[in-house]
Amino acid sequence: MKTRKSTPYLYMLPGCLMVLFFVYIPVIANCVYSFFRLSSYSADMKFVGFDNYVRFFTNDTFWIMIRNNVLYCVISLIVQVGFGTVIALLLESSVAGRFRNVFRNIYYIPALISLTAVGLMFTYVYEPNLGLLNSALKALGLSGWTQAWLGDSKLAIYCIIAMSQWQFTGYITLLMVVAFQNVPNDYIEAAAIDGAGPVRRAVSIILPLAKEQFLVCTIITVIGAFKLFTEVYSTTAGGPGNSSQVLGLFLYQNAFLHDDLGMAAATGVFIFVITMVLSIIQLRVSRSGEV
């Protein structure tokens, strides 16, 4: 059967157009908007050059946001990806035994709850007077350990990070379990016959073969860390003071609270650049595609 040269391109056209309209054009428009001052209920735009960027980088909260996002990122990498992978290895090893499925489900359930619901739930856990956490500490005779948690400027961001670890470690675990199951049994058995113990098998056979998935998990976690929004919005909204402010929430507040869409666009561009650079670095470092 003869095909015209243009035929395959015609098939590709709808998909390309959709990506163009829903991904690339908004990204470019966002970059353009970041040089203007504009509000959502007025059609006028005013060119202000780099003013939005200057205000963004000289903002009091800029370094607080960077610190909070980086903290979230680092802790999530250690706990979710690191610890989650270890749990996945344990689940796939003989240690888990016949309760394997039960454990897997228990770990995964938190990831199924909506972020807002979790946020709301944890505001009750962290509530200083009647909250679950302080009540539990008091019941254990540890009254001295009780804190204001979300109300404490130094602790608020850690409380939010802890909440996310509770929610998403199981998710990463599940992703890693799937990858480990795809590792051919022959290799593992061959290694076992050669005398490799469980740790050796995990480090030398299973993990390298699941490298791609591991990479995906780190990228998801890192990007998620810089897009962080709902967890903070539904618990402290950046408070007390600005102590738990993050980039995503800052963008949102500027767009919808302060009607400063230009500033919000500039923040968006910054988040985009950061996540893109980090993803490129990760892909380069891990030399994806090679086993």
Partner: protein
């Protein structure tokens, strides 16, 4: 060939369904559709609004009112997005002051003055001291209040008696009362500042007394505000003196949680809005029947300001200037925010509107007391957080939240506010809407 036939059949079906769709649209459009957007999705308020609208539709078969609602913060965001577009609701809830005035600058709000002038009976049925809040300096009336409000200290009568204290009238007396309550083993003031705006009500009220009216008027306008008057710092210092008497961890507690604590006796006083009365105790539903509470105005503070201003402007509805049916919208509001519905509203949900004489059948004495305070007020003061430019407000409240935690001093807070006010001057001056 089969394929061709199939395609043709599909095309016919499509064309027919489109024609039918068009037909139904034209049938419906004979009815006048009014889109109505409010921010009271909670019960029983939502049901009350829905039932009144259903009643109106029954009496006016040509009118179809489509209701939408959202909670406070999402409401603000949604409204800002739709109000400038073609999809703007015909009638919507809007806070008086800067919140609505920026829409007026864009010609998005219908001027109600001619309608009021044409119907003097309607005009005279509305409270003057409340309507003034929905009136511009040039006399344009842009909204009609739906619920009256004011900020009052609610206090637990039993705990006051036990501690042997009287209702304070000055700030020093308030501190004295707090100390005595604390000595008697009570938490003097229930306070939850997790959402940051509760502090605005303290600061706003104090500012009205420590800063003169003229200075405040200049500072609350974004293009001229500097906040350099020393009265602002004084207000924060007064606030700071109250911090030891708040419950612990006030920054970690939500405002409604603080209210619950007050209701449960875990706080002898609570600085609350009159509209919160139905949440605090309700004889009809048996909510907190054992709580004996009274109300008093914020104790007076010496200063160049005006202690007679009562904090808390009313909240109401405005009409979009883009509406196809301005007359019908105004006609509906006239009824919905009028005396008849207002009386029923006060009886069933405990909120008064701005029509004169809606207290008939209201049995809750607290509601009647609050009504008396509001209607006899010389002047209402704005909600501080709505009165300020949003970035200045954000800085003010964020810094006050740090002050509450002991991380900043009043002087440091004002430094931040002043810097933010300066930035806001340039921002507001360069905003496209101002051109």
């Amino acid at each position: 060939m089969k394929k061709r036939f199939f395609a043709a059949a599909l095309a016919t079906v499509m064309a027919m369904s489109m024609a039918m769709g068009a037909a139904t649209v034209s049938a419906e459009s004979e009815k006048k559709t009014i889109k109505f957007f409010h921010r009271f999705p909670d019960e029983p308020y939502n049901s009350f609004i829905e039932s009144k609208i259903a009643e109106y539709e029954e009496a006016h078969p040509d009118i179809d009112i489509v209701v939408e609602s959202a909670q406070n913060d999402p409401y603000k965001e949604k409204l800002k997005v739709v109000v400038g577009g073609d999809d703007c609701p015909d009638i919507f809830f809007s806070w008086c002051g800067e919140f609505t005035e920026r829409f007026i600058r864009e010609n998005l709000i219908l001027d109600l003055t001619p309608y009021l002038d044409a119907d003097p009976e309607w005009k005279d049925s509305l409270m003057e001291n409340q309507m003034v809040n929905y009136t511009l300096d040039n006399g344009m009336v842009y909204g009609i209040p739906f619920r009256l409000d004011c900020k009052l200290f609610f206090y637990n009568i039993d705990q006051f008696e036990e501690a042997g204290v009287e209702v304070p009238t000055t700030f020093d007396e308030l501190l004295d009362v707090c100390q005595k309550l604390q000595d008697a083993g009570f938490t003097p003031i229930a306070y939850g500042n997790q959402e940051k705006w509760p502090s605005a009500h303290y600061i706003g009220t104090l500012n009205q007394m420590t800063v003169s009216d003229e200075v405040r008027a200049v500072d609350y306008v974004p293009t001229t505000g500097t906040f350099t008057d020393e009265g602002y710092q004084k207000a924060l210092e007064y606030y700071q003196q109250l911090i030891p008497y708040f419950n612990e961890n006030s920054n970690g507690i939500a405002a409604d949680m603080a209210r619950s604590n007050f209701c449960m006796g875990m706080g002898s006083m609570y600085y609350a809005e009159a509209i919160e009365i139905p949440y605090i105790s309700d004889p009809t539903t048996g909510l907190n029947p054992d709580l004996h509470y009274g109300m008093f105005k914020f104790p007076e503070v010496e200063g160049p300001g005006n202690p007679n201003i009562l904090t808390g402007v009313p909240e109401g509805f405005v009409v979009s200037s883009k509406t196809q049916y301005p007359d019908e919208c105004v006609e509906f509001l006239k009824w919905f925010l009028g005396k008849e519905v207002g009386t029923e509203q006060a009886q069933t949900i405990g909120w008064f509107n701005a029509s004169i004489g809606t207290t008939e059948g209201v049995e809750d004495q607290s509601l009647l007391d609050a009504y008396e305070v509001i209607t006899s007020a010389e002047e209402m003061g704005p909600w501080f957080d709505n009165a300020l430019y949003s970035t200045v407000c954000d800085t003010y409240l964020t810094a006050t939240s740090d002050l509450t935690n002991g991380d900043l001093t009043p002087a440091e807070v004002m430094e931040k506010v002043q810097a933010s006010a300066l930035e806001a001057q340039t921002l507001a001056a360069s905003a496209p809407e101002e051109e």
